[in-house]
């Protein structure tokens, strides 16, 4: 019987035995991400193991490195919450001096990247360290029990953005860290999603192969934080792409005039000009994404808030140079 080659290496760096929740999208992001990284190292340096990881405090750290156990089969170091980028800078500098070939992978959650770690991230990118920074974006501080971050989307419930008589939930639009990273004019910036694993793997490999810094913001589900059933974890992130909530794009060398947009799927109509995506007509309303998750439940009693969210999505796409139309659900 012919055995099909697996689509990605069977080598594991994020090994079974970690303590993440069933259905954790971020665990998927780390598992696939490190596999892709390893493939890139093999292709670039002839050594699949030619990398080390520096990771920030957060959910993915505490579920993977509980003394005396570890889920990591790659050299891995955790220092603190806000300094994965700075620690990675040090590791990279040491490797340079040791004459070790390979690349450093820095990993942080949205809190450890978009908020408290922003300064260290900017410094690392600006200094041009040979590091890929992977921001796994579960859109809140999950490790401390679901508090909002600057990456929490508008309208979302968290324990510090509770909906109430005077509150709609999170009342600020999401901060797009990928665009801030791209402003450093680094070789490679991308957004990705565990809802589109092939695209994520491709981007991770590309990031790992560039010389110099790269940044990937990957959206991944948090089951308790988003209040989604574990079995819907991947489906919900796919819906984020298909409804326009999560744009997938790449920016190389900070060239904002040449943002590469990935077509969203889900029946969306894509209009191009000279190969470039200029307009997208989404077919699935954002409500399809929202309704799978408890964190947006309260919005359905306040339809004007969903309209507000639609406006924000359009604004984000506009920054990316794309005109979008977002449908409302059929009555």
């Amino acid at each position: 019987m012919a055995v099909r080659k697996p689509p990605i290496t069977t080598r594991e760096y994020w090994a079974p035995g970690h303590a993440a929740c069933a259905g954790c999208g971020c665990a998927v992001a780390l598992k696939l991400g490190t596999k892709a990284f390893s493939e890139a190292m093999e292709e670039k340096y002839g050594d699949p193991n030619a990398f080390a990881i520096a990771q920030a405090t957060g959910c993915m750290e505490v579920v993977s490195a509980v003394f005396p156990y570890t889920a990591w089969k790659a050299p891995w170091v955790h220092v603190a919450f806000e300094n994965a980028a700075a620690a990675a800078s040090g590791v990279e500098a040491a490797w340079k001096k040791l004459g070790r070939k390979g690349k450093i992978l820095a990993i942080g959650g949205d809190g450890g990247t978009a908020d408290i770690g922003m300064q260290a991230l900017s410094g690392m990118l600006e200094r041009w360290h040979n590091v890929v920074y992977l921001m796994y974006d579960n859109e809140a501080y999950m490790n401390t029990g679901i508090q909002r971050s600057s990456s929490t989307p508008y309208g979302a419930w968290t324990t510090t953005s509770p909906p109430g008589k005077y509150s709609i939930g999170e009342d600020k639009p999401k901060k797009w860290v990928a665009l801030i990273a791209a402003a450093h004019q680094i070789p490679y910036v991308a957004t990705a999603s565990v809802g589109n694993p092939y695209d994520y793997i491709r981007k991770m490999k590309k990031a790992a192969k560039v010389d110099g810094p790269a940044f990937i913001q990957v959206q991944c589900t948090c089951v308790p934080g988003w209040r989604v059933p574990p079995e819907k974890s991947i489906e919900v992130t796919r819906l984020a792409i298909e409804t326009g909530m999560w744009p997938l794009f790449e920016i190389e060398n900070g060239d904002f005039h040449n943002i590469k947009i990935q077509p969203p799927g889900g029946g969306a109509k894509v209009k191009r000009e000279g190969g470039r995506v200029v307009a997208i007509e989404f077919k699935k309303p954002v409500e399809e994404y929202l309704k799978l998750q408890g964190r947006f439940k309260h919005l359905f009693k306040r339809p004007e808030a969903i309209d507000q969210l639609r406006e924000q999505i359009k604004a984000t796409w506009k920054v990316l140079g794309v005109d979008v139309t977002l449908p409302k659900p059929e009555e």
């Binding site: 490195a65 003394f67 050299p75 891995w76 170091v77 040090g90 040491a94 001096k97």
Partner: protein
Amino acid sequence: MPVRKVMKANEAAAWAARLAKPKVIAAFPITPSTLVPEKISEFVANGELDAEFIKVESEHSAISACVGASAAGVRTFTATASQGLALMHEILFIAAGMRLPIVVAVGNRSLSAPINIWNDWQDSISERDTGWLQFYAENNQEALDLILIAFKVAEDERVLLPAMVGFDAFILTHTVEPVEIPDQEAVDEFLGEYVPKHAYLDPAKPITQGTLAFPAHYMEARYTVWEANENAKKVIDEVFAEFEKRFGRKYQKIEEYRTDDAEIILVTMGSLAGTVKEYVDHLREKGVKVGAAKLTVYRPFPTEEVRELAKKAKVLALLEKNVTFSVGGALFQDFSRALINESEKPRIVDFILGLGGRDVTFRDLDEVMDISKRALAGEEFDEVNWIGLRKEVL
């Protein structure tokens, strides 16, 4: 052959770093230690030091990068002071807990507010519970020597703890003195190459560093830091002895000066020790039975040596450029702790002085002596005394 050059303590620290050959240096400027990274970047630019110099965007990232580099298995160094050291605070615990032998040069400076760039010891004293070893230099030569010694002690397998070496803002950082720069070969022989067995990020033998520990293991991890601090006491003596053999300069955890037959001993650290020794000479000429003692090592705290010192005097006068609220100075607490269960103990009088760069003059020391003499005579005395306070501006 060693050469003698006239230089500031900041340059001496940069020279120490150059001689120790760290592979990674990450630093951020702050007065008064700015010259250290400047000088190091010159060494690197001229090919005199073969290191990666990371021009980080903050002290927090400086120490974080040092932790990353040290975890990857290389010798690392940085320099800072005051607010910069305070910004590192969180990561100082982490460096000690991860047992990474990073060395930091500290140009001892006061802490805000009010903002003040001059000397006292509050910055490094405030970090006394991080697990770091602490050395204090009396002069520029000591600044250079103690950094080399700090590397050797920190990297000893019985220790494996980070170390900071303090030297007083401006009084040393910006003042030139003749300094003997040891031979590179001699330093190479003294320090050897750093080859860690516990910290490395090698894909050939992947390990996980900086883990989470549940209550079942956390306390043990803290205990090993405690134990390593205890071990460092012996290691420091050994390294001091070896340093003396190789380079001819003698160091002791507590250096005594004219303490034989002294009734009152003035105890201090850093550059103030120089002033105090001169003051002792001055009083000895008048027949006053007074001596001086200098703490070269503050962490690990030299408890045994303090007990020995205490046997020699009826009054220990502690001269401190730092404050521990409700207590006095940190040394007062440390000395009291060291002596509390001794059956015979001297009276301890604490003096807070010289904060924020205020000069400590002989007149101030006369005041110290007056109070100490009262204590010696069995009269009432205040345990904590602020010397040189300008009451008119209060």
